[in-house]
């Protein structure tokens, strides 16, 4: 196969060509209430060719790898229709590598019956909680082998395993419906989603608690975010803005996002990196064959660098960071985050809340999105803070802000960094991409909260 790929890349008139072939196997299990509603096996085989000519791209995706050379030619012809300038694409040393996975407890080796037994147990815990109406459990695992080759002579095979699990407890009373979810994931280790009985029980009880909780009053508050929600905040509020594909052809955004600009106080450090090992966004090479790195987006409050593909790096005259990722062979790689987090400082949780007269403590995530300037993210759980103490439970809140203001409003950073491995990131049509994000507890001086 390696020879076949190499041959189909030879002798073309293009600035750059790459081929990606992918084989995958996946399992999906879905529960709704007491029904195991869906259990399925999915297999996939396909690939794509991407070609660059004079700054224009052609992209062809397919299921059948027959006539690979014809597909290469089609992609090149398309690129010729598009390209009218000069290609800019950062250099990458040709390399050959085979990356395998070593996992403690591979989900492929766990029989379906054992998976079912575990989820039955979690489901029983949720459903046996008084006032719980129903439950949702969605589990999936996937194993992929990706072969990447480029016209520069690079040839890489990478194996990847991913697991994700989302559990939700839905409580209902008097026409009111409230829910709490728990999202987990791992880069293949099934034991990461075992032994959650206590967490699942607490989740179900919290969902019931929400039935009698009041809604927050809309307005501006001092807000304290737990590590999970602060991780979603840093991903939405700043991570997406750091993706250079938003910036590289946008002169005005470049003026705003100029390296060296101050975004926060000197305790604020924000990092993204697939080279940080063992997390869901970790890998050895990105989908353009660039080795992973660890990038300080913000160091001591100052914008230091951003996330790049080879094209955005070359056009902006910066170094590639290995952040070009494609969710699968149906899509070209685009600039994505990997593992994104705020580095820990020294404060304890008590230090952070002790001098807040009235504020909101928002925990755990439900979702988040961004328009670059404005972002919103929602907490699964929230409490009032009164006179330095956690007070009454509130209905889930949606928080919103302006990135240029809000990062500067972070005035306390805790010492308790935690990484959240659940969920996934969506951009353009590519969702959900495995990523992780995290933070210690943080305090935001002023944040807009939607409410009654």
């Amino acid at each position: 196969m390696q020879d076949k790929i190499a041959n189909s890349l030879k002798g073309h008139n293009a600035d750059y060509i790459e081929i990606r072939l992918e084989e995958s196997k996946a399992t999906r299990i879905i529960y709704r209430g007491n029904r195991l509603e869906e259990i399925g096996r999915i297999s996939s085989m396909g690939g794509n060719v991407r070609a660059l000519v004079k700054g224009g791209w052609g992209f062809v995706s397919f299921n059948s790898v027959n006539k690979l050379r014809d597909k290469v030619e089609l992609a090149i012809n398309q690129a010729w229709l598009v390209g009218k300038e000069t290609s800019k694409f950062s250099q990458s040393e040709p390399l050959t590598d085979v990356v395998t996975v070593e996992i403690e407890k591979n989900p492929m080796a766990v029989p379906l019956a054992s998976k079912k037994k575990l989820f039955d147990e979690y489901n029983d815990i949720i459903l046996s909680t008084p006032k719980i109406q129903t439950s949702n459990i969605g589990y999936s695992d996937s194993q992929r082998k990706i072969t990447f080759a480029s016209s520069e002579g690079t040839y890489i095979e990478q194996a990847k395993v991913d697991i994700s699990l989302r559990l939700a407890a839905i409580a209902s009373e008097d026409g009111q419906v409230q829910q709490i979810g728990l999202s987990l994931g791992s880069q293949g280790d099934f034991s990461a989603i075992e032994g959650l009985q206590e967490q699942v029980k607490q989740m179900a009880q919290r969902a019931v608690g929400l039935l009698s909780a009041p809604q927050a009053k809309g307005g501006e508050y001092i807000v304290v975010l737990d590590p999970v929600l602060a991780g979603v905040f840093v991903h939405e509020a700043f991570g997406h803005l750091s993706e250079a594909d938003h910036v590289y052809e946008n002169k005005r955004l470049q003026d705003i996002m100029v390296l060296g600009r101050k975004f926060g106080d000197k305790h604020l450090n924000i990092v993204d990196g697939a080279a940080v090992p063992g997390l869901r966004g970790s890998y050895k090479y990105d989908d353009e064959g660039v080795p992973a790195s660890k990038t300080y987006l913000i160091r001591e409050g100052i914008l230091e660098s951003r996330l790049h593909s080879r094209e955005t790096a070359a056009i902006m005259g910066e170094k590639p960071t290995g952040n070009a990722r494609a969710i699968n062979y149906l899509f070209p790689p685009i600039v994505r985050m990997t593992n994104t987090y705020i580095e820990p400082e020294t404060l304890s949780f008590e230090d952070i809340i002790s001098d807040i007269k009235e504020g909101i403590y928002a925990k755990d995530w439900y979702g988040g999105t961004t328009s670059l300037e404005m972002f919103t993210f929602s907490a699964a759980e929230a409490y009032m803070i009164r006179n330095g103490k956690i007070a009454e439970l509130l209905r889930p809140v949606v928080l919103s802000g302006n990135v240029f203001v809000t990062l500067g409003n972070i005035d306390a950073i805790g010492n308790d960094l935690q990484m959240n491995q659940g969920g996934g990131c969506g951009k353009r049509e590519q969702s959900p991409l495995p990523v992780s994000n995290g933070s210690p507890h943080i305090r935001i001086r002023s944040c807009l909260v939607g409410g009654s």
């Binding site: 999906r28 709704r32 209430g33 509603e37 869906e38 259990i39 399925g40 096996r41 999915i42 297999s43 996939s44 085989m45 396909g46 791209w57 052609g58 992209f59 062809v60 995706s61 397919f62 299921n63 059948s64 089609l74 398309q78 229709l81 598009v82 379906l112 079912k116 109406q133 129903t134 839905i170 209902s172 009111q176 419906v177 409230q178 829910q179 809309g218 307005g219 052809e249 946008n250 005005r252 705003i256 149906l330 979702g367 988040g368 999105t369 328009s371 404005m374 919103t376 993210f377 209905r395 889930p396 809140v397 949606v398 919103s400 302006n402 807009l448 909260v449 939607g450 409410g451 009654s452």
Partner: protein, 434 residues
């Protein structure tokens, strides 16, 4: 497909093979110029079995040995849910127009020209805007066969034109956009250009707004981004059966304003969400969900309908796994008040054009809350400018219980929703500026 079905019939009581093949060409404009042409060809084959009374499922993208697919599906059967339905074998399907031969006559050059014209037109209005546009042309063919003798197939053509522009002044960003899709080629760029230019005109200056409850008008885009997700979840037969829908015991009751009607319609000619049969071979139909404010029906697939002791409404959709109740095209009935008259009626209020993040709240309960990504302030019957740093929050059941007015003109948004503007008398607005 026949091979897979034949092998599956040997080991299972019933079997169904679903196959969809598609070929789509998309051109992308980035930063005002053509950047990429994509050509995607794909085939997906799914096998559903009933064996030992239980449902098994396997799916493959690309080639797979029939025996392998059958083996994968059989492996899941022992854990699958008990099948409450039989695969359908209807006598006739309605004739629904979903294919326009003209789609093949559209050349890549035509698509490039369409995108260029659109961008030029909008930049003539606002030269500093940075434009992204996508134009997509494709065909899909769906084929379903089952062991009960049922067979259905149809072709669909798809064309879409979408635009998004960003205008940056200092640190202020303005996002504008619109899209059209159809089974016909969409060869006229002007409706999108007009809509985007209207948004740019209305957002020319930023104004502040108070934090308090006030009258709000949702435009068609505003309805799609704020109110639809909770309604879709509440009318899904599955959530109703689970008891997770607030409407579970409200069939036949007046829950919404008497001027508010909503139906699901997969029979509309040349709409991208239309089909002669759903993804499990059940004929398409128009299903009233809200009739003059009365909850009149929920939408179902085969299994959920059987569990709930009712009939499938032809809403079995596949999203990477087994069919599940899924809306096709949703239509909200028109009213009799023009948008202009709604605005004139308001002393201080808000027009919501696009709400960001609304689907992140507790949609099961009907709650929505989001940032007004694009919205305009109304002062003394006039739209006076764009509001920013503003959130709205509410509950669709409270909001739709009593509407001030329903718009007299409707339009398609996002390819699946035909809706007029909706005017509600009071909604909570929170603003940083206020």
């Amino acid at each position: 497909m026949e091979d897979i079905l034949a092998q599956a019939k040997k080991v299972a009581e019933q079997a169904e093979v679903f196959q969809v093949s598609s070929k789509v060409t998309t051109i992308h404009f980035e930063a005002n110029r053509l950047k990429q042409i994509q050509d995607k060809e794909s085939t997906r084959t799914a096998l559903r079995l009933i064996k030992g009374g239980k449902v098994g499922f396997a799916q493959a993208s690309g080639f797979i040995e029939p025996g392998m697919l059958v083996e994968m599906a059989v492996e899941t059967c022992q854990f699958g849910m008990p099948a409450k339905f039989n695969f359908p074998n209807p006598e006739v399907y309605p004739k629904i127009d979903t294919f326009d031969l003209q789609i093949d006559a559209v050349a890549i050059d035509d698509m490039v020209e369409l995108g260029e014209q659109l961008i030029v037109k909008i930049r003539q209005h606002t030269s500093d805007i940075l434009c992204e546009a996508s134009i997509s042309r494709g065909v899909a063919s769906v084929h379903i066969i089952n062991s009960e003798g049922g067979e259905a197939s149809y072709n669909k053509s798809l064309f879409s034109l979408s635009f998004e522009g960003v205008l940056i002044k200092g640190e202020d960003m303005l996002f504008v956009g619109d899209s059209h899709s159809s089974c016909h080629p969409v060869l006229d760029f002007r409706p999108i250009a007009e809509e985007v230019i209207k948004q740019l005109e209305l957002a020319k200056r930023n104004v502040s707004i108070s934090t308090k409850p006030m009258p709000v008008i949702f435009t068609p885009h505003g309805v799609a981004s704020s109110l639809i997700a909770p309604l879709v979840s509440a009318f899904s037969g599955k959530l109703v059966f689970d008891g997770a829908s607030p409407l579970k015991d409200k069939l036949g009751e007046q829950i919404f304003d008497k001027n508010f009607s909503l139906w699901d319609d997969s029979t509309l000619p040349y709409q991208v969400a239309s089909y002669p049969c759903d993804d499990e071979g059940v004929p398409s139909q128009r299903t009233p969900l809200i009739d003059d404010g009365v909850v009149s029906h929920f939408f179902y697939d085969l299994q959920t309908a059987a569990l709930a002791n009712t009939q499938s409404t032809g809403n079995g959709g596949r999203h990477g796994g087994l069919p599940t109740p899924s809306p096709s095209s949703l239509v909200i009935g028109k009213g009799d008040i023009s948008f202009r008259d709604m605005v004139r009626d308001i002393k201080e209020g808000l027009v919501v054009e696009f709400l960001m993040g609304a689907e992140q709240g507790n949609i099961l309960n009907g709650d929505f809350s989001g940032n007004v990504l694009l919205g305009y302030k109304i002062e003394n019957g006039e739209m006076t400018g764009r509001v920013k740093d503003t959130m709205v929050a509410g509950n669709v059941y409270q909001l739709l219980k009593q509407l001030e007015a329903v718009g007299s003109e409707a339009r398609w948004v996002e390819g699946f929703l035909l809706t007029p503007c909706l005017y509600c008398s009071s909604l909570s607005v929170a603003s940083k500026a206020g």
